[in-house]
Symmetry: C2
Subunit: 352 residues, 2 copies
């Protein structure tokens, strides 16, 4: 009935996250989670922060976490913003930098939360078609007055742009913010972090959900010129003074500090991804060149929906969208080698 709903909220179609099954044990390759646990240092940090200190509010600035990020990326603390997962950080970027009436550009095949954010803040947007191999033509995004949003590597394709393309986007859009969503960058993409000091209109957003194995803890961050970070702080402090709880602040920092563990686990995932891609190609799949922790695949004979259903029956969850251009594709997160063996065996059965 929607009585009492504001007109804006009445018009929204929310984002649908991948299924989190509660009943049955699946091999979960549907939400790009990391198959490895977080660093043991995270658990120790959380245990130290739990108990009595929870009666006190967290640091509203998240200063210690910001300092750690600043050190890691060679930036000032005032060039770092932290939030409750990169979803929240992206939402706040849409609100802070984009203006109703000025069209924001993003690809037609990309993270499907972008149009939802645009709707939430009453923005106009245009989806720019990727080429037929899901490649992005930089020329399509130059001279925008409203804003540009690029996932790099892109989701759900996994394809990555070289740093030179991001530079061209930042340089070619002097009148608007270029938002680069690097949720998956740690699996082989080139980060634009090093351009942040050169382009006052560039915002890089990352998350600890994927490469740091902390989807369950909700820590994301933005790296940008201090002027843009101040806008994000203004939004955050007008919405919720304390978006990160004490355990997320402590756990996130511990994860960042354990760089050895981070390299080992991301290297393993990259190796598993590349091995799995070769096996899937041998099964006849077309596999997008992925720099992420997932593979975007399609088969010339077996419909994606049928494969998804068959995998589910065999205890494996993958992601499929009933959407133009990608309705015959599956996005498969990279699990352990054992997970991917099970996937390949199941697909072999389903195709064979």
């Amino acid at each position: 009935m929607r009585e009492f709903w504001s007109s804006r909220v009445r018009s929204l179609t929310p984002y649908t996250p991948g299924e989190q099954p509660k009943d049955r044990k699946f091999i979960k390759l549907n939400t790009n989670e990391n198959p490895y646990p977080p660093s043991p240092a995270v658990t120790r940090a959380i245990q130290a922060a739990a108990g009595e200190p929870l009666r006190l509010y967290p640091d509203p600035e998240g200063s210690a976490l910001r300092r750690t990020l600043a050190g890691l990326y060679g930036l000032g603390e005032d060039q770092v913003f932290v939030g409750n997962g990169s979803d929240e950080v992206l939402a706040m970027c849409f609100q802070a930098f984009f203006e109703p009436g000025r069209t924001v550009l993003f690809p037609d095949v990309t993270y499907s939360f972008y149009p939802v954010y645009a709707g939430l803040y009453g923005l106009d947007w245009r989806e720019v078609p990727l080429d037929e191999d899901f490649g992005l033509r930089v020329a399509d995004y130059l001279g925008s007055e409203g804003g540009v949003v690029i996932a790099n590597p892109n989701a759900p394709t996994g394809r990555a742009l070289p740093l030179s393309d991001i530079r061209a986007l930042a340089q070619g859009n002097p009148n608007c913010v270029v938002l680069v969503d690097e949720a998956y960058v740690d699996f082989g993409g080139e980060s634009a972090v090093e351009l942040v000091n050169q382009y006052p209109n560039l915002v890089v957003v990352q998350t600890m959900s994927k490469s740091r194995s902390l989807a369950g803890l909700r820590v994301g961050f933005a790296l940008a010129d201090a002027n843009l970070i101040a806008a994000l702080d203004t939004v955050k402090n007008s919405f919720n003074s304390y978006t990160l709880d004490r355990l997320a602040l402590a756990g996130g920092q511990a994860a960042l500090e354990d760089t050895d563990y981070f390299r080992q686990t991301t290297d393993r995932i990259i190796a598993t991804r590349d091995r799995t891609a070769r096996r899937l190609e041998a099964l006849g799949f077309a596999v997008c060149d992925s720099r992420a922790n997932f593979l975007f695949i399609s088969h010339p004979e077996a419909p994606a929906k049928t494969l998804m259903d068959g995998l589910r029956q065999r205890g494996i969850l993958v992601r499929w969208w009933d959407k133009p251009r990608i309705a015959n594709h599956l996005r498969v997160s990279v699990g352990t080698d054992e997970d991917m063996d099970a996937l390949c065996r199941a697909l072999e059965e389903l195709i064979g």
Copy 2:
């Protein structure tokens, strides 16, 4: 310089939370935190949820926590919304239920985040003056077309409205949502939860930050008709699928289940509050009748700002606002008996 800031965000003046000192050890009576640690069951639940499970996203619906709240308050799970502290829940209420161009009403002396939320969502609002004793006249808030927001007990005064007044507000505003912020209700106020099934326009918001000793964990919730909860879900799912991390979901639920601990600690705080109020009156303070975990006080001779500065020098933090009507008042959170003894001794010195 604010280049690239959206015009809305450029116009905002964010909320300023009370100080969280990092350097020195203070007796912290400035942010209404609970002086007692959370239930030991919370720590156990957090330790069980930390580690390997953090690699997986949390339940985006927060179903287990919602079910626990529903059971506790005699409502259906679809009448419960959970969020990242009641600040986030309140923000989402402003966005879900209020409409630009339709004036939202709240008192002139109340939680100072309300006008900030209104600014964030481009709403019009009017501050309705409380009477000279900071009492609320229900008649001033009837027949609104835009919305009514009431903190009950009110902050920073601590004064509470009887249930009959909340009923009159819900009944007298059939065309808009009446939002009752019960952040402090567990310290002796009358909750409007029992009216939720009767009034489809009534939203009750509570928090675990105060009475459950979990300011550091960020868990708040709203109780209302399922239609209003669906609007909040729509906002949340268009902003951030997972606003509560796994540890907050687990810890929040454990806190709710330990009702004995909850009653013991809130009873202690109420007893300390009432004893402290009598002592402060004996020192010549005017003390608002408080049903919250703080006291709102003023002295006929000693200026509030001078007292605040003097207390700080003596290692005690309290809250003071440089605002009309309340610039000669202090808000003092209720700590342990020892904390309040130290406060009273320091005030005696400062006044004597």
